[in-house]
Symmetry: C2
Amino acid sequence: MPAQSTHELIVEKADALFYEGGFDATSFADIAAAVGISRGNFYHHFKTKDDILDAVIGRRMERTRAMLEAWKAEGESPRERILSFIHMLIANRTQIMDFGCPVGTLCSELTKLDHAAQSRATEILGLFRDWLTEQMRALGAPDQAETLALHLLSWSQGVAVMATAFKDEAFIRNEVAGIERWLSSLPNLTHST
Amino acid sequence: MPAQSTHELIVEKADALFYEGGFDATSFADIAAAVGISRGNFYHHFKTKDDILDAVIGRRMERTRAMLEAWKAEGESPRERILSFIHMLIANRTQIMDFGCPVGTLCSELTKLDHAAQSRATEILGLFRDWLTEQMRALGAPDQAETLALHLLSWSQGVAVMATAFKDEAFIRNEVAGIERWLSSLPNLTHST
DNA sequence: GAATAACTAGGACAAGTGTCCTAGTTTCGT
DNA sequence: ACGAAACTAGGACACTTGTCCTAGTTATTC
């Protein structure tokens, strides 16, 4: 692995800081301190703060795409692949209880700030939606696939918000168990109605 | 109705601005402009910005309590009362698509800011949780009442986040219909297992 | 009606913001 | 080895931030 470029390091540190403290509340000074460079030097790498946000969103999209691809390779069946998505809530439970879902909270913040990048941030959620739709379709529910995908995505967003508010790990585990039961019952639901 | 005091007017305007633009991004100048008073005059009414936040949270708690009480008086059965909660998503759909859930987004923001008032904001969610728990208990599910209440609250939070991100009114209506079906199926679930 | 309190506008204050410039230093292609 | 490009630190810039002071005005109380 080659030495990380300053450019990449800035995006990486900004990514973490935006997640932990929010985009608006994170200043150039914060990022510069985290990277270990001078504040003025920033201009050479990024003209504006929005450029950093763009880069961070791009990084998140790329990593999300890679993660979804990996789940495709690992999971034997669509059901197992969907379980990989669900288990993110368990694997990242500590961070979720501290800072919420990285994607959901960013979308919410950018919406309130009326920021132009809001649509790009939503595209990350769109990646999950489309991937889950694909898996649902493979599961044998072609007509309701997107509806089911949006429902599952919504479910996980709700769990993240509640977990952040109440700092309740048992709640996360309980809801994840509920999602798993729901997933198991899906074929039945497909046949009914 | 007596003329609204300046104090109350400040809290009211700050409440709306915090909801629409977020707490951190809303400045004293913004609130002063909305109220129509000078910026410096603020100090006489509120010593710090955190004091305004405290007042706003207090106002929201009071109004939430009143709303929940009203739903108790209006709804004949616990099921109808829970439906009042659910239909908030429909009634406030426009604002939710623009700014999300007032409570959920505030909790998320204050958590990221590591703000001392985060626990007080969570108390508002706690009001909903306790009220829903009470209704669930009355519905005939005493042992799982709080679990069901948290699940419903989580569900609505997820819908709010997704609706904000995708600006999709059809999704809201679809999920609300799903919640209604879930609510109808509840007694059966109580008897099983 | 005088004294006290409540309220107001305007501005000062230091600190922090995003942005941008200048002047050096290092690295790299040739 | 040399010129160009990449990179760096430090600081200036205009502006906004939350906070606080002063000096007036209005309202209330006895």
